[in-house]
């Protein structure tokens, strides 16, 4: 049941839970708060990077609950017990390594996610509708469902509207 890739991170006040299997690369976390959520770093979550209330705000925006949080006072005994070994940086799965072609690729890689966005990673640039280059990280996700609230990027709306690759 419990995915061994799951991780917990704490700043002593709250604990953030990371469930890689739920991540759809909406990239909300690291677009909003790179100081805390940085897939290029190990561990990829740095709980000292921002105040607790800011971390809570961004975790709450995760469209799939791949990221969740709890006050440490509310942790179950099991969660407290696993806090220690779940923080280790070794062999950590991040939103980046989840898409297995990680660092070395030179050509950009575009992954078509089933019923979801395009995940773009590697070396690339994005030119916006106004003709200007848009700021992006090494990885970003682009809306395919046509309904994102933060075009051209994915914001998880495809799940809410039941977007599928198959036309009815």
């Amino acid at each position: 049941m419990d995915d061994p890739r799951n991780r917990q991170y704490t700043n002593g006040e709250i604990t953030v839970f990371w469930k890689p299997s739920r991540c759809i690369h909406a990239t909300t976390c690291f677009r909003e708060l790179l100081e805390v959520f940085n897939p290029g770093r190990r561990p990829w979550v740095n709980m000292e990077g921002a105040p607790t209330r800011k971390i809570i705000e961004v975790v709450n925006k995760c469209p799939t609950q791949a990221l969740t949080w709890k006050y440490n006072a509310d942790l179950s005994r099991e969660e407290q017990a696993s806090l220690k070994d779940r923080q280790e940086a070794k062999a950590e799965v991040t939103p980046e390594t989840l898409t297995e072609e990680a660092a070395e690729i030179k050509p950009a890689t575009v992954r078509v996610m089933r019923n979801g966005p395009l995940i773009v990673e590697g070396e690339f640039k994005i030119i916006g509708p106004d003709g200007n280059q848009m700021k992006t990280l090494r990885m970003t996700s682009i809306c395919r469902c046509g309904n994102s609230g933060s075009m051209p990027f994915c914001d998880g709306t495809h799940r809410k509207i039941g977007f599928t690759d198959f036309n009815g």
Binding site: E100, K106, P107, A108, T109, V110, R111, V112, M113, R114, L118, V120, G122, E123, F124, K125, I126, I127, G128, P129, M134, I142, C143, R144, C145, G146, N147, S148, M151, P152, F163, D165, N167
Partner: protein, 63 residues
């Protein structure tokens, strides 16, 4: 094969135009296209996903 860095051009109300060095993998991880330019559907309505088939023109897609 182009030697330029991959470029993704977001066409207003239209598809994503991809040029330069890139590769596209489908949902199973298999490579489906190598060279550009390639036009990828952004409106959600193409019947040839992930590619554009001009359906956006009939959908009033603004994104």
């Amino acid at each position: 094969m182009s030697e330029r860095k991959a470029t993704f051009r977001v066409n207003r109300g239209g598809p994503l135009e991809v040029t330069g060095k890139f590769r596209i993998l489908d949902a199973r991880g298999e490579e489906i296209e190598k060279e550009g330019p390639v036009y990828l559907c952004r409106c959600g309505g193409s019947r040839n996903k992930p590619f554009c088939d001009d359906t956006h023109k009939t959908r009033d897609f603004k994104g």
